[in-house]
């Protein structure tokens, strides 16, 4: 089979349409993940033992099972108990909760990485718990988290094709649909690959920059 440039230009608008949905799903999913991750992290670190334990189990369970199956579950099983989500929303929630478990780890690591001496210095200067969090711990914990979080953002972006399994017309699904009606796989799939590669090469550069900017607070 030959590579056909005309065909590529013909399908481009459809693919770009899909790319838009892909990016939208990524951005919304990231927002959900950021919040869900915070909830998980706080529950695990500060809630009473049984709740912290239960949270840990849930987090482990979500991390140990495939997002694809979770998406099927959200989309096809939840309606049985009366929760019927539109496809994109179901996808965003699936992505958000799945990656929220990763974000929770990053939050925890970021906070634990603040040296004990900092907590002690805050205590020795008589700051309250709240003041310690706001003025001492978080300003030091957050910058190093940023590259790790960005990393997961990129990973999530690359997993959006899964949403095609629950009928979201994102990039991959559009490509498949094009392939379905034209019986040509090479061009649409290659174009999807190129889109992903371009996006992640851009994000690699962006990430390097983030790492340089945020990796170490002391060096500023």
């Amino acid at each position: 089979m030959e590579w056909d440039w005309n065909f590529v230009w013909e399908i481009m608008p459809t693919l770009l349409e899909g790319l838009k949905i892909t990016i939208l799903a990524t951005v919304l999913g990231a927002a959900v993940a950021a919040v869900v991750g915070l909830v998980f992290a706080i529950l695990r670190m500060t809630a009473p033992k049984p709740i912290a334990r239960a949270t840990s189990f849930i987090v482990e369970f979500i991390r140990g099972t495939p997002l694809l199956v979770q998406l099927y579950f959200i989309f096809y099983v939840l309606p049985d108990i009366g929760i019927r989500l539109p496809a994109l929303l179901a996808g965003v929630i699936g992505l958000g909760v799945h990656y929220g478990t990763y974000a929770a780890e990053v939050y925890r690591a970021g906070i634990e990485n603040v040296p004990r001496g900092q907590w002690e210095a805050a205590k020795a200067t008589n700051l309250s718990a709240r003041q310690t969090w706001i003025h001492v711990v978080l300003p030091q914990a957050i910058p190093p988290m940023i590259p790790a979080l960005a990393n997961y953002l990129i990973a999530m972006f690359k997993e959006t094709p899964l949403l095609s399994a629950i009928t979201v017309l994102e990039l991959m699904n559009q490509a498949k649909s094009v392939a379905n009606s034209s019986y040509r796989y090479i061009e649409p799939m290659t174009m999807v690959g190129i889109f992903f590669l371009i996006m992640s090469l851009i994000s690699v550069v962006f990430l390097r920059w983030l790492e340089e900017r945020y990796a170490r607070v002391e060096e500023r």
Partner: protein, 256 residues
């Protein structure tokens, strides 16, 4: 030349692509592949001297590219003959014929009887397998892309209908009947056949260039039809042998 057939004989089996859509194709609890299309293919290949078939389940959209990529030797999946498809693959003579049907909510609240009705009602959403005949019919009738939901498999389509995510789920009549009878849901009803949609027939689809194999297949298929064994295989599944025998590939591939 019949190099391809010799090859298959030597390896002892033919690789077929099937869908996961009873009664065209089915997988039993023990994992054995059955259904009308694979059963016919198995019998014909046996008579050609190829002992067995090995089936792999595939999405409709992936079947033709898979064939072209040499992933299977033949598609036996209820992939209806249409002119563009005839251009992409080499079909055998017709095997399974069926009309199109709708599954929809009880009482047909939107009054949908044809693909055109769906196009005309701006609220109606139709679900159909990606790359299948129904998707094409809907698009050709003028249903906009965003109201044609590509559904990965029959069970998902039915579920989406029950959950109110789509208003119509469209498949061939026998598939819809099988699906709806399994679901046993009083709130789902079937409209069959869909008005204005022709009856379609599938055939075994071979890769372009494998015409010698296809022709050999046709010879044995014709014998099978004549002997009456053909009807014995497909009629228990609900298909009509007479329908398949009353038309030809030539007609179906030319139809518009």
């Amino acid at each position: 030349d019949d190099g391809k057939l010799a090859e298959l004989k030597e390896q002892g089996f033919a690789r077929v692509a099937i869908a996961n859509e009873p009664p065209f194709t089915a997988v039993a609890a023990d994992g054995k592949v059955s259904g009308a299309a694979p059963d016919v293919a198995r019998e014909v290949f046996k008579r050609l001297g190829v002992a067995d078939i090995v089936a792999s389940i595939s999405e409709y959209g992936a079947m033709i590219p898979g064939l072209q990529a040499g992933r299977h030797d033949v598609i036996t999946a209820g992939l209806f003959m249409k002119p563009e498809r005839c251009a992409a693959v080499s079909y055998s003579e017709p095997i399974l014929c069926d009309a199109e049907a709708f599954a929809l909510k009880k009482g047909n609240p939107l009054g949908l009887k044809s693909y055109k009705d769906i196009a005309d009602n701006p609220d109606a959403k139709i679900g159909a397998p990606g790359g299948g005949t129904e998707e094409k019919l809907a698009l050709e009738a003028g249903v906009p892309r965003d109201r044609v939901i590509v559904v990965p498999d029959g069970q998902s389509g039915l579920k989406m209908l029950q959950d109110g995510r789509i208003d119509v789920y469209s498949l061939p009549v026998l598939s819809i009947n099988d699906l709806v009878s399994k679901a046993n849901d009083p709130n789902v009803e079937v409209v069959a056949p869909v008005e204005g949609a022709p009856v379609y027939c599938d055939g075994a689809a071979f890769k372009k260039g494998d015409e010698a194999l296809r022709d050999a297949f046709d010879v044995e298929l014709a014998k099978l039809k004549e002997s009456g064994d053909f009807a014995k295989i497909i009629e228990p599944y609900g298909f009509s042998a007479a329908a398949a025998m009353s038309t030809t590939r030539e007609k179906l591939c030319a139809a518009q």
